[in-house]
Amino acid sequence: MKLYNGGIIITGIVIFALLITFPFWWGKGEKNPAPVLSVDTPAINQLPDKRCLEDASFMRKNHMKLLNTWREGAVREGQRLYTATDGRSFEVSLTGTCLHCHSNKDQFCDRCHNYMGAKPNCFSCHIIPGEVNK
């Protein structure tokens, strides 16, 4: 069996193979270090027990779901107090509660969001304390 135009076809196959496997070999061996999040803020340092609303692992995984629940509850049902699993209660407020402790948004929220390529649009309306033009 004779392969017509073999050169072009094989070159094409090689280019195709290179392109399709691009994600597997590009940047191989490069390290992309996980973001270092800072919890060194005045409000957190004052806490006797440095605990977020829930466990850190839960918050890391589920803060966006928790915030969605807060959003629906506060706006639509008027539930403005959140009772954590350990019985403490918090005001349902992104600016007032979350950013009160995590006042270093650029060293906490943003670092991880940038690393993950997440683009939450919370802060196009919700106010970042300290970034307010008073």
């Binding site: 706006v75 639509r76 008027g78 209660s89 509660t97 309306c125 106010i127 304390p129 033009n133 008073k134």
Partner: protein, 259 residues
């Protein structure tokens, strides 16, 4: 009247006590910046009602006063685009002929022709904006407040077309650069959402009356539960003749104008 040293000291002492009294009796409301704990505890005593309503006693409303508008727009981060086409309004004034179209005639006196009345969202009991909203961003709470969930607003402006009072404004541009001084306790809006008066539901949740009502020195705005026969607003609208804006449309507006 001659005053001796003893009288002077008495008056000075009494004045000091009178000035300090509000701060001692009610510390949470007198201080500007509340701590997180105080903020939280203020949520434990919300104002509740079966149906919130507002009465506007026009006789008490002075002609050039804009206290209610200023207070509302400052607290709710309402932008000023310096352009009537893009204007965002939560509460504003209109002439009598615009507030009650069809009720004006050429023989009305100067007083009526020059009259300007404060207008805002009527928090209708049968709100057309709620019916047309495709995403349920506008909804009616159990206490009658017609409220917006800005998270869900897609900016379709059907509610603006449905509202017979023009109480809704669209953010055609990013409002943030046009807010004179941002109040950090209330979110701003973003480009592409509609906004309107929320009857200060965020203040009611903290046990405070709406900002316009508190700002009115003449007490021309009376806010309360219209379903409660003992409420001031109910007794006022039972006693005095009042009109609602375009009530013949069937929207059952809850702003009562005492004229």
């Amino acid at each position: 009247m001659t005053s001796n040293r003893r009288e002077f000291l008495k008056i000075a002492g009494a004045s000091t006590l009178a000035l300090l009294a509000p701060a001692i009796l009610c510390p949470a409301r007198t201080r500007g910046n509340l701590s997180a704990a105080e903020q939280k505890s203020s949520l434990l005593h919300p104002l509740t009602a079966k149906r919130w309503a507002l009465a506007v006693d026009h006789a008490k409303c002075s002609a050039d006063c804009t206290d209610c508008i200023t207070a509302c727009h400052r607290i709710h981060n309402v932008p000023d685009f310096h352009n009537p086409k893009d204007e965002i309004k939560w509460i504003w004034t209109e002439p009598f002929s615009a507030v009650f179209p069809g009720e004006n005639h050429p023989y009305q006196g100067q007083a009526v022709q020059k009259m300007r009345l404060p207008v805002l969202c009527n928090h209708c009991a049968n709100p057309p904006c709620v019916r047309v909203c495709p995403t349920k961003a506008t909804f009616q709470r159990r206490d009658g407040i017609v409220m917006m969930d800005y998270h869900r607003c897609i900016g379709c402006r059907l509610c603006m077309a449905a509202c017979p009072y023009g109480a809704r404004s669209m953010n055609y541009r990013d409002p943030r650069p046009f807010i004179a001084g941002i109040n950090p306790d209330f979110p701003t809006r973003t480009k592409g959402v509609v906004e309107k008066c929320n009857f200060c539901e965020e203040r009611l949740a903290r046990g405070l009356r709406p900002a316009c009502v508190d700002a009115c020195k003449q007490k021309a705005l009376v806010f309360g539960d219209v379903e409660n026969p003992q409420a001031e607003v109910r007794q006022l609208i039972e006693k005095r003749f009042n009109l609602r804006r375009r009530a013949n449309l069937g929207t059952k507006p809850q702003i009562y104008y005492i004229l």
